[in-house]
């Protein structure tokens, strides 16, 4: 990876992190308040997703008209199409964890850098969960 690509990765991460901080979604309570439809509902997260969707839904179709990205060799886009049990069970488990703790991966990563013990513990447990999935995947997928 050349210097231009490295710098781009770093700056893109920084912009994403600033967006998460500005959005208010670093606060677990605020995420949980959005999910609390029968209690003190806070619609802020809907505006975060709406704002992010607005920009990317306009930009993405224009971008993928290109043959290659500006400083990459090709587009790496998901190719899976089927609505399978993995997608639904995985998303359901993620949602339960998201609701219980109020953290999702992005805010947790940024949160670690604030010195928050909660974010650090969450991020470590998340890595363990990801490693467990890898083990589960290797055990259940026949090797080719």
């Amino acid at each position: 990876m050349n210097a231009k690509q490295s710098l781009a990765s770093l700056l893109l991460g920084a912009l994403f992190g600033v967006g998460l901080m500005v959005s208010g979604m670093m606060q677990p309570q605020k995420v949980q308040d959005f999910l609390d439809f029968t209690g003190s509902w806070d619609p802020s997260l809907a505006l975060v997703m709406g704002g992010a969707f607005l920009v990317s839904a306009l930009a993405f179709p224009l971008i993928v008209r290109r043959k290659v990205p500006l400083i990459g060799h090709k587009f790496h886009l998901p190719t899976a199409r089927d609505l399978d049990a993995k997608l639904i069970i995985g998303s359901a488990l993620f949602g339960i964890g998201w609701g219980l703790g109020g953290f999702c991966p992005g805010p947790a990563i940024v949160g670690v850098a604030t010195g928050s013990t909660s974010a650090l513990l969450f991020a470590l447990a998340m890595l363990v969960g990801m490693a467990l999935h890898r083990t589960y995947h290797d055990l259940t997928t026949p090797s080719q």
């Binding site: 490295s6 990765s9 770093l10 893109l12 991460g13 920084a14 912009l15 994403f16 992190g17 998460l20 901080m21 500005v22 605020k30 999910l35 609390d36 806070d42 619609p43 802020s44 505006l47 997703m49 704002g51 992010a52 969707f53 920009v55 990317s56 930009a59 971008i63 993928v64 990205p69 400083i71 090709k74 587009f75 790496h76 998901p78 997608l87 069970i89 995985g90 998303s91 359901a92 993620f94 949602g95 339960i96 964890g97 998201w98 609701g99 219980l100 999702c104 991966p105 670690v112 974010a119 513990l121 969450f122 991020a123 998340m126 890595l127 363990v128 969960g129 990801m130 490693a131 999935h133």
Partner: protein, 143 residues
Amino acid sequence: MPHFTPYSALLGGLLIGTAASLMLLLKGRIAGISGIVGGLLHPSKGDASWRALFLIGMMTAPLGALLVTGHLPEISSQASTRTILLSGLLVGFGTRLGSGCTSGHGVCGLARRSPRSLVATLTFIASGALAVFLSRHVFGGAS
């Protein structure tokens, strides 16, 4: 709705969408955080450094806030250590099994009009709402 923060939420969302769009335009990648982290655990050759740099970049954001405002943002979590650890395990396992989280499915996937991402997003919002309903209103502050 005393906690509603429409302007910062919308601005934050626009910045996140801009970052995701630039990621696709420059690097041809989807800015899905669980995927970026997950790929780092078992990287293929030449595929690790951009992931690490992106995550390091994300972690510079609070330091930027420190420079601008003079203090680090504070995260206040009400959850017990046990709940935090359980939720982290569920998020880690679930996002890998379901191939994405709030950023990959909820932002990038919806922007690509992916039916899989729409189903994933509706599912994690529904199960998240159920988890909050049970923990706040049924088992009242049990977390």
